[in-house]
């Protein structure tokens, strides 16, 4: 076979890790063991998945529900838990208005219920903990980034990691209690007294890019498409190389 073709362009970023074809193709049962409220609109769902082969922080999975008549609904969800939580995975779901799958989770699901999952998927938006990571998320886009932060803590890694999170209000900030010094929250609609309100801007990104760690940042951006477009542009304007920006868009 001839050599692998690499396009003559800038974003020729390969996957960070190879994805297991078997894990990606096999559906397995996940049993709900616990539900934790995060915000008025988001909750974390903990599952026992005995045959889970493990994942890297940042990866997602495919989840499906089945109705009596055989109808299947499937959606992608990022994995919130770190890899070391063996035999378990956690997902954090926003309650989307009129949403078929998130609606079932938020109004019907209870411990003991089971669903099906396959994965982990995508080795691209994954962070094994090897390079300095600049994480920027909004809304439920913070979910895969939290897996990275938890991994960093669980393994006591000393590679630099910074997190910028955007939420409408402090009540809507998912995982609010878990952030530490590495995190800067940005509130777009309402903030506690003395904290400014506004969109993520160049002023949030510039200080982080000014203090580049050796080897530079690997940037991970996750959220709605509008947010991803806005933030990836801020990063490029602040000097972050386009081939070191990884984006996950929730649509």
């Amino acid at each position: 076979m001839t050599e692998t073709f690499v396009p003559p362009t800038r974003f020729a970023v390969p996957g960070r890790i190879a994805v297991s074809n078997r894990a990606a193709a096999t559906w397995q049962t996940a049993t709900l063991t616990e539900i934790r409220r995060e915000t008025p609109h988001a909750a974390t769902f903990r599952f026992a998945v005995p045959h889970w082969t493990g994942h890297l922080p940042g990866q997602h999975l495919m989840l499906r529900l089945r109705a009596e008549d055989g109808y299947l609904a499937q959606r992608h969800y990022s994995i919130a838990s770190p890899p070391d939580d063996a035999g378990h995975i956690e997902l954090t779901l926003d309650h989307v208005e009129g949403g078929e799958v998130s609606g079932w989770f938020h109004t019907v699901a209870r411990p003991g219920d089971s669903v099906e999952v396959r994965g982990p998927l995508s080795g691209f938006f994954a962070w094994p903990g090897d390079r300095p990571a600049l994480l920027i998320g909004a809304g439920s886009g913070v979910v895969p980034l939290m897996s990275m932060l938890r991994h960093h803590r669980a393994r006591d890694l000393d590679v630099p990691l910074r997190l910028l999170v955007s939420a409408r209000t402090s009540e809507a900030l998912i995982y609010a209690r878990e952030y530490g010094e590495e995190t800067t929250p940005v509130f777009t609609r309402g903030a506690p007294d003395g904290v400014p309100v506004g969109r993520m801007a160049a002023a949030h990104v510039a200080p982080l890019l000014a203090e580049q760690p050796p080897g530079g940042w690997e940037a991970y951006v996750c959220g709605s498409n509008g947010f991803a477009e806005h933030v990836s542009r801020l990063l490029v304007e602040a000097g972050q190389p386009v081939d070191r920006i990884r984006i996950e868009r929730f649509g």
Binding site: M1, T2, T4, F5, P7, T9, R10, F11, A12, V13, P14, G15, A18, V19, N21, R22, A24, A25, T26, W27, T29, M62, R64, L65, R66, A67, E68, Y71, L72, A73, Q74, R75, H76, E100, W104, V108, A109, D113, S114, V115, E116, R118, L121, S122, G123, F124, F125, N225, E229, S232, R233, L235, V242, D243, I245, R246, I247, E248, R249, G251
Partner: protein, 201 residues
Amino acid sequence: MNVTRGFTGRPRANNAGLPPGQYDAGDDWPVLSAEVTPDLAPADWTFRVDGLVAEERTWSWEQAHALPASAYEGDIHCVTSWSKFGVRFGGVSLDAFLDAVRPDASATHAVAYSHSGYTTNLPLADLTGGRAWIAWEYDGKPLPAEHGGPARLIVPHLYFWKSAKWIAGLRILDHDEPGFWEQNGYHARGNPWEEQRYSGD
């Protein structure tokens, strides 16, 4: 799998146009790309076909527009489960480009690559015979940048990650070579009617 307790799903219309596991996104057109949307002016856009061909060629925006116009009107299906009905893309049939370069008899596959550096692999048979386009118009207007403008590949009978945005070229090969998502666990071909989502499906 067992029935999920208490899950009924939305009331659903019996829609023969919907491949298994897909839902109708209506007017929505979600954007799903892993890279930064490139800032690419039509004047800087080029489209190249090389590899196993009799004559390698690069077309400029103007040269590509001089080829006979061809439109796709129909449905598109994204692997993330949404489908979109009755969309209209305007551009040029890929046959017009391939006829000009004359692929070798040994050619079996192509890697499509974009100006951003994204790649995706396709059997040559999925790109010929009026089944693929280079498109620069959506609904009669210039294709928006976040949807691949100024020009993208359209291969509507496969999942939409095959329809590379910001298309820059095709390398014609005598073997299959996984592209960006295919190296990340996605299926090599991606036929929505057979639900070829992930490798192993």
